[in-house]
């Protein structure tokens, strides 16, 4: 989708706050939301790409103006409502009007210790041979899916080079619809001269991780 989240290369956002204090959370509610999300029960048909897509779909004004973890809270509220587990009234008041869904019990404090350093990976075996080889020139697709995708607008149609191959990873466009297909994943390196009309640093590059469906022969 051509969403507000797809920010690479956009102009007008101003300076970066380089003097931000180094603590991990700047307000107790941030740590609370992050931790609630880690600990809560999840629907079996939720996954990382569905969450990302639900965050991308926040009203664009809210996306650009609300604090980060506040957006997480609203995204999970939207997911709960969408899955039929809560109503708008319930998430607004914090009071339940009916029993919760039939689910395994949520994470206990004991479970947290094992989950802190999770090594979850998203690659999987695949039978098909990779379509591209290291060093090969490829062009990023110009097709624009209406749903979730991980090919940023700024790379669409641009010519790059295969710099690395990472085996097969779950394809995010499908995963956001709860369809588990794996595709070969590559690092594709683009020269900045190819990406940006004003670029002058000929040796600088931008590398993206792109799935095979995002690529075509030049």
């Amino acid at each position: 989708m051509d969403g507000i989240h797809d920010l690479g290369g956009r102009h007008g956002f101003g300076k970066i706050d380089v003097n931000e204090p180094e603590e991990q959370f700047h307000d107790p509610y941030e740590a609370r939301i992050r931790s609630i999300v880690n600990a809560m029960s999840r629907a079996p048909d939720w996954n990382l790409d569905w969450f990302r897509h639900c965050r991308e779909l926040i009203d664009p004004v809210d996306y650009l103006s609300r604090p980060y973890f506040d957006q997480w809270a609203q995204t999970y509220c939207a997911m709960l409502i969408n899955s039929g587990w809560a109503t708008v009234e319930e998430v607004s008041t914090g009071k339940s009007n009916g029993p919760g869904p039939q689910l395994p019990p949520p994470m206990s404090a004991e479970d947290v210790r094992a989950a802190v350093f999770s090594a979850k990976r998203f690659d999987a075996p695949i039978e098909a041979a990779p379509a591209y080889e290291l060093g090969q020139a490829v062009r990023a697709s110009t097709s624009v899916p209406t749903g979730h995708t991980r090919l940023p607008i700024y790379a669409r149609g641009r010519l790059g080079r295969i710099a690395n191959h990472h085996g097969a990873h779950v394809f995010p466009d499908g995963n956001a619809l709860n369809e588990k297909n794996h595709e070969h994943l590559y690092t594709v390196e683009f020269e900045v001269m190819e990406l940006w009309p004003e670029a002058t640093d000929v040796a600088d590059t931008v590398s993206l991780n792109l799935w095979e469906s995002y690529l075509e022969l030049p």
């Binding site: 931790s35 999970y76 689910l103």
Partner: protein
């Protein structure tokens, strides 16, 4: 049943825009109260996560890896070849990790333009600036200007590689070992390694050497 439908979610967000409590802290409280009432979250587990964030999760984990890579050439080679495998010896984990090294001619900078992907297991919470529209939009387009803002003035002969984290691979920059640290042990070296140097928004760590020696 979840309806994996973009329009349905956008509609819910529009409704929530005008219904949720007015402050982030109140919205968080409402969400937690509701989940507890519905048996979908155990507040003791939430507290345990908060404790883990304050005690176990943070950039010290990444710094240990960098310090080891500075003193152990064999480890460094393994880290560059397969970082996930290399760090299991340190009892650290970070899903699918890629380590990228700065050199005298090359500087690496990590960003996630589409959301906020970050090697949390090794660096802790991403700084707020990493998640802002300003950093996400500008890092891929004018990295030298961004680095200038962070006080990293790169001469024109140093190449920049920007890494946009668009998949479930997480990048960690290996900064250069500063001069004047010969003979230092790993623990002392790790004290020099900053969070920003592992993201690529800091380059020269020599200014911390005096404070340690």
């Amino acid at each position: 049943m979840t309806k994996h439908d973009s329009h349905a979610i956008a509609d819910v967000h529009h409704e929530l825009h005008s219904h949720l409590p007015p402050e982030p802290a109140l919205r968080a409280k409402a969400l937690e109260s509701l989940l507890v009432e519905k048996g979908m979250v155990d507040s003791a587990a939430v507290d345990a996560w908060i404790e883990a964030y304050s005690e176990q999760i943070g950039p010290k984990n990444g710094a240990r890896i960098i310090a080891r890579s500075w003193v152990d050439a064999e480890f460094r080679a393994r880290l560059l070849a397969d970082a996930s495998e290399a760090i299991t010896d340190l009892e650290l984990q970070q899903g699918h990790l890629i380590a990228i090294e700065n050199t005298a001619e090359l500087h690496n900078l990590v960003v996630c333009t589409l959301c906020s992907c970050y090697p949390m297991g090794l660096l802790g919470m991403a700084p707020t600036w990493y998640k802002t529209a300003a950093y996400r939009s500008r890092s891929v387009r004018e990295p030298r200007v961004v680095l200038d803002e962070f006080g990293v003035g790169l001469s024109a002969d140093i190449r920049i590689k920007v890494w946009d984290s668009t998949a479930e691979l997480r990048y960690m920059v290996i900064p250069q070992r500063p001069a004047g640290t010969d003979g230092w042990d790993e623990e002392k070296l790790a004290e020099l390694v900053t969070r920003n140097s592992m993201i690529g928004t800091e380059r020269d760590l020599s200014k911390y050497v005096g404070a340690q020696s």
